[in-house]
Symmetry: D2
Subunit: 347 residues, 4 copies
């Protein structure tokens, strides 16, 4: 059994990693650490885990954590990781990090969108963007995996076949997205209270959401040239689930729903977690919520010669915790799907 430590375990991403790992046949959780809840039983914070997961939360005692862990997963607020990750790497631990700090190749992009000082520049060389469908080999040997953002995962996988194959006008890309509330984290803010959110739909981060440059970085890498997009996320009154509806002008016009489908099917042949839906079938978040799948439907808008790509995943699953476990499996040499074959809840 591999031993996994989770630092910052009491957020929604953290508890989803716990939910996945307690069912994982080859990994066990050696420590759950939290600054706010140290000393409490994890199942007091999340009583759904009573009788199943009985570890107590430790503080951030890195020596002890490192001694008992093969891999450390960090899910800390962006800045808090600065005190932790370099120390983990120094102690020879492999790290899967959920902050944005190591997702960007160019630290100035990070610094300008996140309005902070990076401060861990020396580790940037080691960092690998943790999207297995694109960087699988690098992940396998990496000591520092930057787990991607939820919107970037949902968008990049949706657009890769078209962008990589240079089939779209790169300045035409628009991504309109919607997410369940758990993407905002476990927060006691009025704006996230039930009465303010239920029966309500709204946009946020219009023209300036931080996942924009992350999407652009990865699309640019696929295209081989700089890509700039418009990206608008919305909040849906539901707990889990994310959908991106992307619009791309095609460079030539002899497409059909079927030929686009074939392009995608071929591109994702062998990728277990990417389900390309047959023409006429559209994704629904309930089909992915609770799972590590991303469902993609590529549609052809003949009247405007646009591809309309619709992709759905669980923001806590393939958009966060599931993807982290997928990376972990790869890093440990396990079958990538180990512990990740649970179907979505549907209900």
């Amino acid at each position: 059994m591999f031993r996994i430590a989770i630092i910052g375990a009491t957020g929604y991403v953290g508890t989803e990693i716990v939910r996945l790992l307690v069912q994982h046949p080859e990994a066990e959780i050696s420590a759950v650490a939290s600054r706010s809840f140290a000393g409490q039983s994890f199942s007091d914070v999340y009583p759904n885990l009573k009788n199943i997961f009985n570890l107590s939360l430790s503080g951030l005692e890195l020596d002890e954590i490192c001694e008992n862990a093969d891999i450390v997963i960090t899910a800390l607020p962006h800045d808090a990781s600065r005190d932790v990750i370099p120390e983990l790497i120094k102690r020879g631990k492999r790290v899967i990090d959920h902050s944005a700090a190591f997702r960007f190749r160019d630290k100035t992009v990070y610094e300008s969108w996140y309005k902070t000082n990076h401060g861990m520049e020396e580790l940037l060389d080691k960092a690998v963007y943790g999207l297995p469908e694109i960087y699988r080999e690098k992940i396998a040997t990496s000591v520092l995996v930057a787990n991607p953002g939820c919107y970037p995962t949902c968008t990049v996988l949706a657009l890769a076949p078209l962008v990589k194959n240079k089939l779209v006008q790169l300045d035409s890309i628009i991504v309109d997205a919607a997410s369940g509330m758990s993407g905002a984290g476990r927060k006691s803010e009025l704006a996230y209270s039930f009465c303010e959110i239920d029966e309500n739909f709204k946009a946020y981060g219009v023209t300036n959401h931080r996942h924009t440059p992350e999407i652009e970085q990865e699309l640019s890498a696929l295209a081989g040239e700089k890509v700039v997009i418009s990206f608008t996320p919305h909040l849906v009154p539901m707990k889990r689930g994310m959908m991106c509806t992307s619009y791309l002008k095609l460079t030539h016009s002899n497409w059909s729903a079927e030929s686009l489908y074939e392009l995608y099917r071929e591109y994702y042949k062998g990728e277990f977690f990417v389900r390309v839906l047959e023409p006429g079938i559209l994704p629904e978040t309930k089909n992915v919520s609770g799972s590590n799948f991303v469902d993609i439907s590529v549609n052809y808008d003949k009247r405007t010669n646009r591809a309309i790509v619709i992709s759905a995943l669980d923001n806590l699953g393939k958009g966060a915790a599931g993807q982290a476990v997928q990376c972990m499996n790869i890093m440990l040499g396990l079958d990538e799907t180990t512990g990740l074959c649970s179907p979505a809840f549907y209900l």
Copy 2:
């Protein structure tokens, strides 16, 4: 008191018209007619109206209905109106219709998107598109008002200032929309059952939703030339509320959030029901649900030189019943806001 008859009163649009008219100081409901529920008390079908509205549902006895009504509002399934509307007009009644049949100037557009035969061509000349902010004068004297679709109302009002003033590349327009479930009507279909809808988000009608040509007709009229758009609606797990997020490439680039806001504020000066939000304020459906308002925020995406316009209304309010009552007020020479000043529910 003006007397209003409602035919097809037991759907969600019908009952919302009843909810509005029982609070209207200058109008009273003279008849509610329904094929399915004739003979029952309206408040047996909608018990929220008990003690407030005690009329019984009649069948479609048009003579009797016409005798006692100044205006007839029809909210019938698209095809059913064919047996009713010509008869009402023949009897000299003024009609506000919720079907799509009279929204299109070109009947072939209607016939090809709705896959049906129009069959009431002789009335097309009389029909006025019931969007008061654009067709107020014509509505005032019309005998046949075609109440607009919810998505077209939400989109056309959102884009009119830019399109009318020829400030956008017309082939760049993308409308990504989301609606609460009541837009689908009162239906006993599995796909609309609570367990299938709750905690779920999905797109539908991708590349082929019937409101597309209606939006295009009105944008084309504003632009003075043919406009073709991409339009993708989604379903949100909530009862009421609609949001359209529209993307338009601007023809010149010396814009700012403030200058776009001024353009909109000026364009909608004096329009009570159109609330243009200050830069930085975004619409939320809870601020319009239950009301006749449409909230619009125009944003400037400097990086791509696009305007991103976000508009919200209540699909049953300004998107249907509220707009019908607004048209009714205009037709009757009343102040347009009579009976329509209730604030949105918020909670």
Copy 3:
């Protein structure tokens, strides 16, 4: 026009009072006061009111508030009212208060359940419990109306016909209740955040909810002897609405659904806001949410000789703001239903 000031206007009860009064034909709001939001426009805090209600929030300047108000409605946290209410009364204002301080005839009951010192004992004599269906005459001339709690309103009205007529074993009464989340107020606590509440149902305040002694006080007054009950509230993942299911052992057994219904119908004859439902019809919160109605169904459990009474109201409506406006109408000599005839939202 009567002038009404609202102190503590930015909570959910406060904004519901505003929503009701902006539609009230005989009353206008002269001031909205708030410690937290003074200086802001009310419609910045609740944007649903933009274009409809344009007052700015003042601080607690009691002199100015009193000068311009015929009645002052206070919706302050229990303790905060101590600095305000005596001052209002001293200035000769009539007050409708939403705190619990004046609901109890015996201040020691208040002090032991609310674990605080009363501190306004001198006003207790003047206070009237603001349940119009029971205390209408006293309310009419009162200078200090204690607006009842939501659960007590829902329970007392449901049980009055049986208890007043001495038809039940008084030690058998069990009240099992459920409320939408707005009853908890506008709070930024983790426990009330969307992700913690949605798709979740739970009990709270088991054996010790503060509305218990309030229910008992009023049932005791009706019975003419001391009544002790078991009361268990639950939280429902919805915004508005409350239901109480009450179980009472009947003292004799020759009852039927019909005879119980007749008892209730007779008891509430002439009460506009109490809708006694016919045998076989059960309340649903959607039929009362947004309105001032309470719907009551009395059922006969022949097998156990119990009455099972089910009552529903809107915790913000008849359970708070609606009832306050009803009291206000009575105090002002207006028709009790003025401004309160809006039907429930249903949708």
Copy 4:
């Protein structure tokens, strides 16, 4: 690997059994049968299972089904099972049935509450009530297990320690319950549509719900004498989850929260799926939804000398599919918890 066939697999209970069994390490699904969907791929009906479960639905070809199955699980409408179950038993198959037909020892109780003719009387002798915490040994060797109803499971486990130990007045028992919508099954009825259910709470089956006699049968067996209860279920606007709040008059009064807790803890010592919560901790449905746990809190209402027992489970989990798999494990000689250790979703 044991082979399990599921007949009536496309309902919500059926698909939950599939969800559990595809993750079960010792069992595999050999057939999924359905009258309505025969011929379709199961993952076309429930697309969350795409890539994970690729069986096609067969019709009710019992010979073929029996040939390949060690155990057959039936989840058919009450009456439909009459054509199937006797045939399965005749072919020597062991059956776990979800209908009510075999839950009652006295067929006349079944016939009068379900208003139907039993018609399989010859099998009643073989049937075991599938509540492992009470009938574990009998289940182990049974050929026909009647999987209990959701409300009876939730109630009987909650009350067993008090009733079995003769600590309560048996004529005082009141059970007030609430369930998520999936308990109503997969139905295309208006009353279950999203717009009718969301933001709504209501009682149903008042004084006559069919689970009443089932609860009474099991409580009577525990008490050793006839028990009659009052039982009122409610519908909560959520998909999964059930809570029962039960009120029982205690026969003596020297109780405390702690002593009641000790009674329960002792009674359920060693029962993995029954989590007795410490005094002061209350169940929430989110802590059990998606799992096979039942969480129980026993409270002492000193003022009335009542125990108030609150129990929560997932109506599709321990209330249906989870319990069926638990019975299946017992019948197959497996560890009872095999494949059932997933924690609840929480989110």
